[in-house]
Subunit: 257 residues, 4 copies
């Protein structure tokens, strides 16, 4: 079984801020958003967590091993250095989507994301310890994306293909397993999963191939933290690339049988 700690990072009252007193320059917003995400990815990454940009005004993170004090430090530091503040809701569950659901409710209970009086909420619960196989991460990419797409099509048509694969995979893994999948650039998708066997990943790859005709491969890893699990998944994906296989699993209970 997995035990995933998920943190929802929400910029407080961001939408109204972006148009007050009148719309702000779009590239200033893009610069602000991407640097804010970079800071959060850096902060959590150095503590072996993973952060995903998602919609930028709402970001989702896997934070096994990151305690409440660290969350408070992050919130204070952002508040000191940005023109906006963030709220953080954290929860734990075996299914990632259930952890997110609970984390999300912590913020929703306090008020709307666009309630000017609801700022810097810090709520939820944190794991007191980590265990070696708490987190399962699957790292997907597209088989020969450079040869098939990047070097042949224009970038937007390449992107359409990657986007359709992502849209298909994210919905499938959410509905079938309560997993949370994130596009992380290039042709890479990282899925935070509950305890899934190899067959589930084969089915996911098959689903996307049938649905939008994009061929994926996936490395799957397990660890005490997102970084540990994700790093094993990256190594497993390297095995796919070298061996021409579709699914490789490393460090998982099943893999060690």
């Amino acid at each position: 079984m997995t035990t995933t700690q998920v943190t929802l990072v929400q910029i407080d009252n961001y939408g109204p801020w972006t148009v007050t007193p009148e719309p702000r320059r779009e590239m200033d917003l893009q610069t602000l958003q991407s640097r804010l995400f970079a800071d959060i990815a850096e902060f959590l990454g150095h503590r072996d967590g993973y952060a995903f940009f998602t919609r930028f005004d709402n970001m989702i993170a896997v934070t096994n091993g990151v305690d409440g004090d660290a969350h408070a430090t992050l919130q204070e530091s952002i508040g000191n250095r940005y023109p906006v503040t963030i709220s953080l809701g954290t929860a734990v569950s075996d299914r990632p989507v259930d952890a997110l659901e609970a984390a999300n409710r912590e913020l929703q209970h306090e008020g709307s994301a666009q309630d000017a009086g609801r700022t810097e909420v810090l709520a939820g619960e944190y794991l007191t310890e980590t265990a070696p196989t708490d987190v399962q991460i699957a790292h997907f990419d597209v088989v020969n994306a450079t040869g098939k797409y990047t070097d042949r099509l224009n970038e937007f048509d390449t992107f359409i293909n990657i986007e359709q694969a992502y849209a298909s995979l994210m919905r499938y893994l959410r509905e079938a397993h309560g997993a949370l999948s994130f596009f992380v650039g290039g042709d890479n998708i990282i899925a935070v999963c509950p305890d899934l066997p190899e067959s589930a990943f084969t089915e996911a790859v098959d689903h996307v191939g049938g649905d939008v005709d994009v061929e994926l491969q996936v490395g799957v890893g397990r660890g005490a933290t997102a970084h540990e699990a994700g790093f094993a998944a990256k190594h497993a994906l390297e095995d796919c690339r070298h061996d021409g296989t579709s699914v490789e699993m490393i460090g998982t209970p099943a893999a060690s049988d």
Copy 2:
């Protein structure tokens, strides 16, 4: 008619770099990518261009008014400050996708995106002047996204809805009109368009509503640069929000009739 100058920004040989000598920590890559994009957005934004993160290893920008010297400065500056380098291909056309296609070919002719010997390509052609209605930008968002999604669903399920809307819109506008649409965070999508009438936007909104059941509204603007057009579009979108309309156009030749 529109005249759009499009620049493709491609990180040189990035995929191999991310796994050499072994896979690099994912959050270091995320931090690197998002800060690199932020720098490019800041640089081009200050020259009234727009940059979109797209796949992060390949970014697409609208650069009317940004000349070849400025592109060279950007390339040199990134090369001095990052562990990776970038290639830049630029081209001009009335349809954005045609400009991108030509910009992209400038790089593809020089070699593969994963060719270690093909670095810091700077190629293409630049407009020598700008004209007041050269660029048309449409800024879409989701009607009452906070009330319908953010405050009610968990963030991932909200994101699925936004993603499906984006996947639907990006494909539709590409195929119907050769427009390039980019998710820019929150519930916002910015489309770089050829010369389109109001009816085309009504049809796009209707298409997405019918396809994935998400209700969009859109402000459309026109200007000499991406910023000018995009800023007008933002103001038009504010009109939609206040007046409850689906499509508003500002600063366009049709609007001034």
Copy 3:
């Protein structure tokens, strides 16, 4: 007695890099250096350490409570995201300058700062625990700097006064007590001290007043980490401002007598 853990951060072979193959643009170097420092300050600051920019190619940090694993993470992360790498030497002593001296030797033993083969050294020793009064920090500023200087003189002449005060204080505290003093912007100087009584700070303030005719005030704090001690020092300095006193001490063994 104090127990200070000091880390020397040195960019590997930086001087030659800045002029290879020919001199790089100065503002690219300034941007690189200040962002690299910002990342290190953020990383250590979130772990209750203090980092000082010093000469930017060599930075000095107080790292009580930051262990060897965290130092390794910082080094790896910088290596993944910058075109340069860093070496880190760490040591512990009761006098800050002795800790720095030992930390510095760890790197010097491995080769020159401009030896292309000496990269990413990670050496030294780390405290296994922290104690409540291990670190003493003194936070100086100039009495009424805005009224006397900033609002009356041109900025460079103001800066000359601040610089002379800093040059005088840094040398005095180094020679008299083995303390390490750093200009941190505005009219602020932070000194990392051994166990010093109130009279030592009165003498330092008097020395600078007599030497360069700039009137300082100072808050002194004590804590288990640089942040704890420095935060107490900031509060003590607020007391100086409100009460018109020259030296205030908080949280120090002497203060609690």
Copy 4:
């Protein structure tokens, strides 16, 4: 004769902000300040200007070739992305210190640097064109700094030597010639000068040698902008390093005699 355009960048009401409602974490302030400076250095550097961090809350820039619109863009962009705002005063004179003095008065006339009601001042005058020898830059460094200091002394004692050299040079060049000198990291000092002959630089090097016993060398360049002049100065300094000379001048009217 030189014609130098100088811009004073002042963070509005920064001191009070750093302690409201209570003192903010020092490393958050350091991170904020150095990233703000990095953004300004990047912005102006890409327009061939030079920015210097000086006291961080007040920064001095040489902005020949950067017009009022660009200054307005910078101010707006910082205001959109930081929790603080900046004021900008700009002026032109043959002597750099006179330009700064006039630029500074533009802000002082509007109110105190710590007046909460005086924000985002944008004032002054800008050159309408640049001329090939408007700016003279001298780039100093310490002869064999790595061998004499960095590899032999502890970093703080090295820094004391560099600081004393800087304090001596900055004061000398200010008083003798109205030049503005800035430490830019490592063992490098950049001086923005009026029209000075080679003998003036020889005297400056001699002064510092006699005053604090640190041996400097200097490359001097001339150009239409800070970058052009500074780049020539860097090349001239390379000549000093290779030829063992103390002063080299490139691109100056005298040099071309």
